[in-house]
Structures are given as structure tokens and as C-alpha cells.
Amino acid sequence: MELRSINRVGIIGAGVAGLATAKTLRAAGYDCTIFERAKRLGGVWADGYSNFGVQVQKELYQFPDWPLPAGTPNFTPGPIFQKYLEDYADRFQIRSCLHIGERVTALMPRADGAPGWTISTERDGATQQADFDLAVVATGLYSNTPNLPNIPGQEIFQGDVLHISQLKNRAPLTGKRVAVVGYGKSATDAALEAAAVADEVHLIFREAHWPVPRNLAGILPFKWGMLSRMTGALITPYVHPSPVARWLHSLGKPLVWIFWRVVELLLYVQCGLGTKIAKGQNLVPSTLVHIDCFGESTMVPRSELYKSIRSGRIVAHRTEIAAFTRDGVNLRDGDSLAVNCVVFGTGWNCDYGFLSGEASRILGSDDDGFYLYRHILHPDLPNLFFIGRASTFLNILTYCLQARWLAELIGARFALPGRDSMLAEIQQLKDWKRAWMPFSGARGARLLLHMLNYHDELLRDFGANPLRKRGALAPLKELFVPYQPDDYRAVVAGDWEAAEGRALAKPAVADVAAKD
């Protein structure tokens, strides 16, 4: 890494991660340029499917230093959230950095031998190139590439086949017999949209997953059960577990085991997972809840979902499509469905097609995605950073903390370990995730409930105290009160030392390059 003379920073993607990075680095005095291929900023929030929105309570999904306006509905609808991002860009004067409608076609090491990267872009057929001292890939985990399963017979099917991203309103579903494939957020959203207007709705999924109800027992917002340090201590220990977590998961294992069985029982009762669906199946997942919640399809379903399944408005099938026919689909369990519209709520794939061949080779081609040091960088790709390649329950907060970590790093407030240490750390992370976390194409980026451990790690790196709760009852709050973005306001704003009442003396400026 050569981070001593950074001035120009190129950022790919104007979603939440790109905007947070630009805001943080601009405040630190760097000259930022953001390239965004869409016609407006917002990333996944710029152009969503019908009735899309945030799946968590509004206080969990907002910038720590720029709260959502008063009066914003809970579970913020997508268009309101996109407007909020526009306001963020205005408030922090990011708009002047934006190159909207400019698609990045290549990211290559600079030809002049200087540290940094050359970003090639294309806009309305015209191509351009610009050199940057540092490049940030902030395209997130869900680039615009639909994940569409290859199912035989699709060419003879007479109905419509849509990916969720094509479902901009309910019109394509009105009066149809619809089959929705998948069991994640987008699939269940699509099924509910169809349930409002379609003649018949089928939800087809291979495996059921444990839902995260918006309110536990119908009363308590789910954050109280999931985002506290106590729950964090009861999940599978982090890659670098604390002595307390190690003890809890060895001698204290029966305690952990009974806790998760009680959670499963509560979810079973609250969501009615024993409901009989097609072929005598039910909705009880076969994977234990504390493992399943690290899978691809973790979701906070709308409360109507299970009601609609119980009432039969949505007919659930725990199987998969074996083949399309002329008038419908044949299922693997032997059933045939006469449908004239199939919607794939099967998610998106990551798209890093702009990376040079050498960079792609270094990142690897593992099925579960690539792994990075601190989920941010690879030591063999100097001056290239990934912000937003970490999936947690508080994504905005995570991206803001990653951006702060990056600003502190290039401001020489802390130093990276050597190359070998970073590679060893990446290998450790890989081994740890592969030992227990369910497979998915983005496993390398998944942290979910481990976000508190990850945030602690980032904060410790740049010398901030990871314990963010304040007041006389702070120790109690640390244990039971959920963490949310506003706990990190001072850190994200970069003035945590003043907020903690510390003397403002900085650690000696580290020579980052020398340590490499």
C-alpha cells in the first residue's frame, strides 16, 4: 500500500456505500469522483420492484449522522428512502462529485507506474479514462445482474417469466395465476403483491427459513432480541472470539442450546410454522435457527405473509420447479401447477466485470465469493478498497464505519499489519465461515448477526472504544439494549475523541508504507 500521497479518489457506485465513502473522504480533504451507471443515485434504492422498502425499523436503517426526517413511515418505503439519499448528497455537498449515467467499463492499475488505478468509463457511447491515487469499489452485493435459475422447458412456456427486478408495479400480476420462486425478502414481497391482485398465487421454495418477525411475540421490535451484545454472545463465536464467548460455547454450551430452542419455539408459535402446506409439508426449517439466520434468505417478513399462507391465499410448495410446460410448471414433488406468470424472487448476483484480469485472479473465483482483509481490502491489490462488501443487519452503519476506517487509514492514524499477516487473517476468516456458515454465493461478505464483533474490530483498529453505550447504566445497556446507528454518531462524524472527553492528542503518525 502506498497511502502517503493520496489526493484523487475514484468511487464506483453511488449507493449508500459510495455516498458514505464520498462524504467521509471529502470531509477529510480528498478529491472524490463517483461513477454511477444508473440515471440517478441510490444504488438498489434508485429503482426497486413494486412496493419495495426497507425491511427493518427506520431507526436501524439510516445514516448515524443524518437521521431520517421526522414523520418518515416505519419500514421506510423505497422511494422515500431514495429521496433521503438525494438529500444526503445535497447536505454533504456530494453532488458535485457525481458522474451519473457513467458506467465503469474497466479498472486497471495505472499505466504510468504511479500507485493507484485508472478507471475507464462509458457514457452515451463516449469513453473516458481518468487516473486516481486510490479506487473504492462500492457497488455492493446486489449489482444489477439478476440471478435466474436455468430450468428446462422455458422456451415452450406460454406465460410470462419475470425476474423480481422487472416487476415495477402490479399490472403484470393482475388477474393472473402466479407462481413465485424463492423464500427471501424479494420473493415473499412479490407473493404478497400478487396476492393483492392475482387470481391464484403459489410460492415455491426448496427450503424454509426461520423468519425474523418485525415484532417478537407481536410486541417487542425484533432489534431487542437480535441486536444486543447478549444475543451476539450466544451465536456461533466470531473468528476471534473473546474469552467470554469461548467459555460460553464450551462449558456454557447447554445454556446456548436451550436459549436457541426457546427462540425456535417462540418463532414456531408466533408465525404458525406448523401450518400444513402442499403435500403435507410445513414451514419448519430443517436448519437450526442460529445457523440458518446466517444464510442467503434471512428476512423480516411482512406480517401478512404467514396469514396469507394460513388462509390459503398464497399456496406454499416446499419443493422446486422441475420443468416448465406449455401451460404451467411441473414441480419436483410430482405436482403440476397451471400458471401463466412465473416470478423469480431469486436475488441478484455480484458483478465485478470491470476488474482487470489480474485483479480478478488475485481475488479468486471461489463459489462463495471472495474474502477480504476486514471485508475491505486485499493486500495484493494496493490502493484498492471495497466499501459495502459486508452484509449485516445494519448495512448503512457498517458502510459508514468502513468509510471511517478507510479515512483513518489513509490519514495515517493507524497502520495495516504486514502482507503475510493480512493473508493469514483472510485465510482464517475463510476457514471460520466455511466451517459452519450456510453456503451462499456471497458467504465471503456475510456477517449478519456478527456485525457487532466486526464493528468492534474496525473501531479498535483506529483507536475508538467499541463500547458505545453511555450513561450510568451503560454496562446494562451494553448487555441488553440493541445497538443502532445513532450509537456510532460521533465515530462516523470523526470526533469520537472529543465526544469521549479524551485529550485530543493523536497517536504518532504511522508510516503505513513502511509497515507494509
Binding site: 447447554p254 445454556l255 430452542r261 472504544n465 454496562p475 479524551r502 497517536p507
Partner: protein, 88 residues
């Protein structure tokens, strides 16, 4: 019952002391060189809370631990029997 509460609280107190020491050491270790006192005080405060909470709830934690220690092997046994009953 009273004996169980005493045993649980005593075990909780032991765990609480260990947890408290860990929290104190963790905060002390992360203190900036120019201002170590504040972090040590915070560490001591957190440590005391850990001790008090473990002692207070030690008996309940022990009860859950025993429940888990009994139910877990039974569940594993039942799962094994159910699995062996399934046609291959």
C-alpha cells in the same frame, strides 16, 4: 430451593469476578497512553456490574444450564432414532 439459590449465586459470583477482571483488563489495554485513567475507571465500573449481574442471576442461569444439559442429549438421542427410522 434455598440451597440451590445459594449455590447458583455463589457460582455466579465466581463467574462474575472472572468476567469483571476480563472487562477491566480489556478497557485498560485499550486506553490511550496519554489518558489511561478514564478507561481504567470505566473498566472497573463495567467489571463491578458484571460481578453484580452474574451474582444476582447466577441461580437462574444455572437452572437454564441444567435444563439444557438434560434436554440436549435427549433431543440428540431422539433425532438419531428418527433418522435411523427413515427409509434410505
Amino acid at each position: 430451593m434455598v440451597e440451590f439459590l445459594w449455590i447458583g449465586s455463589a457460582l455466579g459470583a465466581v463467574v462474575g469476578v472472572l468476567h469483571g477482571i476480563y472487562l477491566y483488563r480489556q478497557q485498560s489495554a485499550s486506553a490511550p497512553a496519554n489518558d489511561p485513567t478514564r478507561n481504567r475507571a470505566v473498566g472497573l465500573y463495567y467489571g463491578l456490574w458484571a460481578f453484580v449481574l452474574w451474582t444476582l442471576f447466577g441461580a437462574y442461569v444455572l437452572a437454564f444450564w441444567i435444563l439444557g444439559a438434560v434436554a440436549w442429549p435427549i433431543k440428540r438421542l431422539v433425532s438419531r432414532v428418527v433418522r435411523s427410522d427413515r427409509p434410505v
